[in-house]
């Protein structure tokens, strides 16, 4: 198991190298970055000086070599727009995305699995049809639209939740880290925590809608398959209660494909829930990436893409390890 894990982590290197080549080329083939950085009033001398400073006059292979060397030292470069290191920008934003993703995934996993089980156990019942229609809505509703609808109902009409952002504006919170919710929780700042949770509800629901629906459908079909298998019949035959049959025997095996979906969804969301973060002005990696693309800020775009790639590799690894835990038949040497 340990060997396998180490091997998988080492595989990260070629994957990231491949991604780095891709993102580097996208950046390098773009229009002159100096104009982007200096604006319309820049003089020709300033442009020339900056080109020299950035090493843009060197052959492209030399530029890539330099880029990879820096990358190996953990240096993602500096944003063309703000001039601060890309790693600092991402570090400041990633915790926001992590908190939103965890909240949305927790919601999606609980609601999705429960709905899926009910649907499967009571196939063709009213509950089943209701759940599946809900799931169909969930996968088909554009997040952007859902977000705006939530805002107009709960924030503008009913006024029970704040419209957007992470915290009420201008309030002194005393928070020091970017993991606002965790910090407020552990330092006992209950008023701040309550404000944070109110701001979290709508983005988390909007973000969870698609994943919840997917998990519900996957759980249902997987459960339906499993409950028809011989060992489940055996379990029933030996007189186990329905609860034990479903939760102890059927569910665990039915969960394997569901875990894959959960893993992939978590990976997507950790890469920045672009639309949700934009609608709710959530200061995470998704809105950072969108702004970077709009500003043609390539070092920052490259940093965000590398982050997404790394997250995916780790999540896939985690999913594979979880398989072994769920299903004793699977094991890695």
């Amino acid at each position: 198991m340990l060997n396998y894990t180490i091997r998988r982590v080492l595989m990260l290197v070629p994957v990231l190298l491949g991604v780095s080549l891709g993102v580097f080329l996208v950046g390098a083939l773009q229009a002159d970055p100096t104009r982007i950085m200096l604006g319309q009033h820049a003089t020709a001398e300033a442009v020339a000086a900056l080109r020299e400073e950035l090493g843009l006059n060197d052959p492209i292979l030399v530029q890539y070599g330099r880029y990879v060397l820096r990358l190996a030292q953990g240096d993602l470069g500096r944003s063309w727009l703000t001039h601060s290191p890309v790693s600092v920008e991402i570090k400041a934003r990633f915790p926001h995305t992590v908190e939103l993703t965890l909240a949305a995934m927790a919601l999606a996993v609980v609601v999705g699995i429960v709905a899926g089980i009910i649907s499967a156990v009571r196939q063709y019942s009213v509950a089943d049809y209701t759940t599946m229609v809900g799931a169909l809505l969930g996968v088909s509703m554009p997040i952007f639209w859902l977000g705006l609808m939530l805002i107009s109902v709960f924030a503008v009409e009913l006024r029970v939740l704040p419209v957007s952002g992470r915290l009420a504006a201008g309030v002194e919170t005393g928070l020091r880290s970017e993991f606002y919710i965790l910090e407020a929780l552990f330092t006992g700042k209950w008023a701040v925590l309550w404000d944070l949770i109110k701001h979290l509800i709508m983005p988390a629901v909007a973000l969870a809608a698609y994943s919840t629906a997917l998990i519900a459908r996957m759980t249902r079909s997987s459960m339906l398959e499993v409950v028809r298998q011989d060992y489940v019949r055996t379990a029933r035959a030996k007189g186990l209660s329905e609860r034990v049959v479903i939760y102890k025997h059927a569910l665990k095996n039915a969960l394997i494909p569901v875990v894959t979906v959960i893993g992939l969804q978590t990976g997507y969301l950790l890469g920045g829930a672009v639309l949700t973060e934009t609608v709710f002005s959530w200061p995470g990696v998704g809105s950072l990436a969108v702004a970077a693309i709009q500003n043609s800020d390539y070092p920052l775009v490259q940093g965000c893409v590398l982050l997404v790639a790394a997250v995916f590799v780790f999540i896939n690894l985690a999913v594979d390890l979880v398989y072994a835990w769920i299903d004793p038949r699977i094991h890695y040497a």
Partner: protein, 522 residues
Amino acid sequence: MRSKWLVALLAAALVLSLMAGCAKKQPAEAPKPPPEKILVFARGSDSVSLDPAMIVDGESAKVCNNIYDNLVRYKADSTEVEPALAESWESPDGIVWTFHLRKNVKFHDGTPFNAQAVKFNIDRQAPDVRVPDMAYADFTLGMIDKVEVIDDYTIRFTLKYPYAPFLLNLAMGLSAPICSPTAIQKYGADYGMHPVGTGPFIFERWDKEQQIVLKANPEWWGGKPKVDKLVFKVTKENAVRANELLAGEIDMMDGVDPNDVQRIQADPNVKLIQAPGMNINYMGFRVFKPPFNNQKVRQAVSMAIDRKTLVEHLYQGNSLLANGPLPPCLWGYVPELKPYDYDPEGAKALLAEAGYPNGFTMDLLCYPNPRGYNPVGGERLGEAIQADLAKVGIKVNLVSKAWKEHLAACAGTDGHAYLIGWMGDNGDPDNFLYILLHGSQSEGMNYSHYANPQVDDLLTKAQQTSNADERLALYKQAQEIIVRDAPWVFISHAMDMVAMRKNVTGFKIHPTSSIFLWNVDK
């Protein structure tokens, strides 16, 4: 099985009771209701830096306007200047300028404000020492030859040549505000995150992509601001920002979407104010190559576009029809200018005369996003133009690129015409006419490469004359020639819009689109 339903019901009940719990509270209620008066201004994107020497964008300038003072400042509702950190000034010849500075002023970090501080700010942007990112230094301060400290409260600038808009440049939010020399030395490259000025508000905190929090400076020479705290909040989506205003979570917002105007106006708790913006939205011809090197063809295309209908339909009353390169809110605007009127038959005749009886095909460079001067975006404007020109036999291919790439394409030589616009920097006609239409600016923003020696002469003279009446006459003459030559199709001037809660008072839209908030109360 029944117990499972029970669990599901309980879960649903829990969620509902949570919602109901929220319902009893007000949405924007703060964790600890502070006794202070907080004014929240929401906008569409965050500032890039708060070092005025390093910035080129409006969102950064907006915040800097409220932290820093300049030597002179714009009056509240015009681009005329009045004393600020300089109490008075004189210039006998338009080349040597002597400023007498305000005494007993301190930067927010306690550093005394004096002539040395002013010199430090100008010197750090001098051509031989400035870093490439100081992109506005050349435009704003490039005409300065030397700066001398006469005594602690007197400073003298000597210009390389007479430059009429000099005073206006010193009032600009980019490059000209005065920063604390101590803080610049202390923070170095990170100064932009730790701004220290002498202005009405003191920087407190910047949560990136969320908010910038400023607090009132009780010792400001202009008197303590009306609110205790000022928050610049980032809300990216226009519609969401409007929702926040309607829900009462923010006090003011800019970047009002034309689609939201109606519902904002319908709500009795909010108000919307509009003012003509200092901008121009236009289509430029590449006058250095066929077919638009022929004045008749430019005139024909100008006559083939129904500008009046187009502006009415596209902008729905939120833009004014242009009659030349200058907006009506800028001095130097000539109300009686007559650009070529809509006349498709006349256009066809002119095309035939120019040797294009069956029209021709042209590439029009455009951009997808909205701009301050064109709230519907370049593609929609391009499509409207395309439809009008099709009627006289001209086939228009729209070549649309993302904004930054579009700018680079305009600076090149591709295409036959391009859509673009300009928002004024300093409130001087020179800042439109010279930089966009002077022959010497073909490497700069005169993307048409329009060069009429007579116009060049008039514009240069106007730049170097200090008498306002003389300048006015020169600009009038230049604009008449420009409109006749038709290097552009003059389309529209977008209105600036700011929406706010009913209880917000004391705000005026400034022609430069700067946001000054020290007189605003709630």
